[in-house]
Amino acid sequence: MIGIRSGGECIRTSAEGILRLNNTLESRGLALTPDEARGLAETRQKSLIANSRVELGLGAVEKLILKFSASGYAARESWIELLNLALELFYFVKTETRDGVGDVSLIDFMFDSLEKNGGSPELLAQSCERLITRLNCGGIIGDNIAGQSASDDGNFDGEDNDNDR
């Protein structure tokens, strides 16, 4: 009976909001074009739907874009691809952890993970997967992300497992 605005209208409004961030992004050489902003808005809309979430207003998108723009690995060539991935991962983690982590904490975690893993999107995704496991098993977000590889034993408290030595 009561519907949120049509998808197209939501995307247009979100894209306009994203474009307003260019005031800050320009100084970092990461200003977005209208098409890029629209693409990000579409990615956000699709992620929200895929992860069964509702977000009114620009929400976490603004925080995420501004935070990631400060990354040393945010290059113009790969900027859009990085943002699209980050948006998808963000809403995925939020839903998979049943809102077990706040927006700012998660964005900070993703940013730190990107920085400490050499800007690798693949390792960022893996860190997010490990975070989901950790939180769903009762752990905390912590700072246990440095240097973790695919073969880590999944300790939740960052302590080495003596048996592995």
Partner: protein
């Protein structure tokens, strides 16, 4: 996301027709959905031309702004997004509380409020009313428990023993005001196994109190004898179709039709024999049985509100078409079974 709020058995006060803002007189109050009053009022106003499209869209924007605020409050400011079901719950709560504030006033005044006032103002008025209703519900619960029926009915005892109290105490008027509960296992005439919101809670309590008062208006010896006669159904774990008030009503009504000067439960066997002999001389059709019941039902109106008795009578109408068809049907309905060796008995 679309928030589709199903029609419920929520029993809030009916809105009164009134005058007020221009165009409101075009709105037909019967077209408004009591379980979704605020939205249907706005839609109906748009449909009848009482308000324009721009005003309607501005109202919807205000509703979603309020939802955004609720999301922030609900998540403690930690998150700007929530799961779909959480959003539906929060939006439902906002609108439910607005309904509580708007339904007691006239249609015109209600329309004026939603078009001209901030949603916060209407919402907090409704939240205040909701909290008053919750206090009323707690008081009603105490009275219902104090006057509870002494019975071995598992479902009745579970409902009064803890389920209802847990429901009321866990009710969240701010974030989950429209909460539905679909586990009312005790069969009740106007509670279709589920209740919704504080209005549903109050209605359930009112029905329980009516039932308690009605059943307790009969001597305890009579009701104990009735529970004993029907013990297999009442105490059975799968006996969730039994309603104690209905059971007492049926027996009382048949005792009056059988010629007892005052309603008696359970129906005395002698009265049943007398009635069955009359039926053997002349069967009663369903319609005739119904009118016979109507003719005597007024003798019960000192024991319960007339609306309650009317509901029970309507529910009994189908059975009245069957039980007067044969003496066997009549005896079985009254849980008297024909034992070939010993004649009639109260057990098979």
């Amino acid at each position: 996301m679309t928030a589709d709020f199903n029609k419920t058995n929520d029993r809030l006060p009916e809105p009164k027709p009134g005058s007020g803002s221009s165009g409101a007189e075009k709105i037909d109050p019967s077209a408004l959905d009591g379980s979704n009053y605020t939205l249907t009022l706005a839609l109906e106003a748009l449909r009848t031309g009482a308000i324009g499209r721009a005003a309607y869209d501005a109202f919807i924007e205000r509703v979603f702004d309020k939802l955004a605020d609720q999301i922030r409050l609900y998540t403690g400011g930690e998150s700007d997004s929530v799961m779909n079901e959480t959003a539906v719950k929060l939006l439902g709560s906002v609108l439910y509380n607005c309904d509580l504030a708007l339904k007691p006033v006239g249609v015109g005044t209600a329309l004026g409020r939603i078009m001209n006032e901030p949603i916060d103002s209407i919402y907090y008025d409704g939240l205040r009313i909701n909290r008053e209703y919750m206090l009323k519900a707690l008081a009603m619960l105490r009275k219902v428990k104090r006057t509870r029926i002494d019975t071995m009915c598992v479902y009745y005892n579970n409902l009064l023993g803890g389920d209802l109290e847990r429901l009321i105490k866990s009710y969240d008027p701010k974030f989950d005001a429209k909460r539905g509960c679909a586990w009312v296992d005790y069969s009740m005439p106007t509670v279709n196994r589920s209740i919704c919101g504080v209005g549903g809670i109050l209605h359930l309590l009112e029905e329980l109190q009516n039932e308690n008062d009605f059943v307790n208006s009969f001597p305890k010896a009579q009701t104990d004898a009735l529970w004993e006669r029907c013990h297999r159904e009442i105490a059975h774990p799968a006996g969730d179709m039994i309603n104690l008030g209905e059971l007492v009503f049926e027996q009382a009504l048949i005792s009056l039709i059988a010629g007892e000067p005052e309603p008696v439960v359970p129906v005395p066997v002698t009265a049943l024999i007398r009635l069955s002999q009359r039926l053997e001389r002349r069967r009663l059709s369903g319609e005739e049985g119904w009118y016979a019941a109507l003719a005597v039902s007024h003798k019960l109106n000192r024991r319960a509100p007339q609306k309650y008795l009317d509901r029970l009578l309507v529910r009994m109408r189908v059975q009245l078409g069957v039980i007067f068809d044969s003496s066997d049907a009549l005896f079985r309905f009254c849980r008297i079974y024909k034992n070939r060796q010993t004649g009639l008995s109260e057990s098979e």
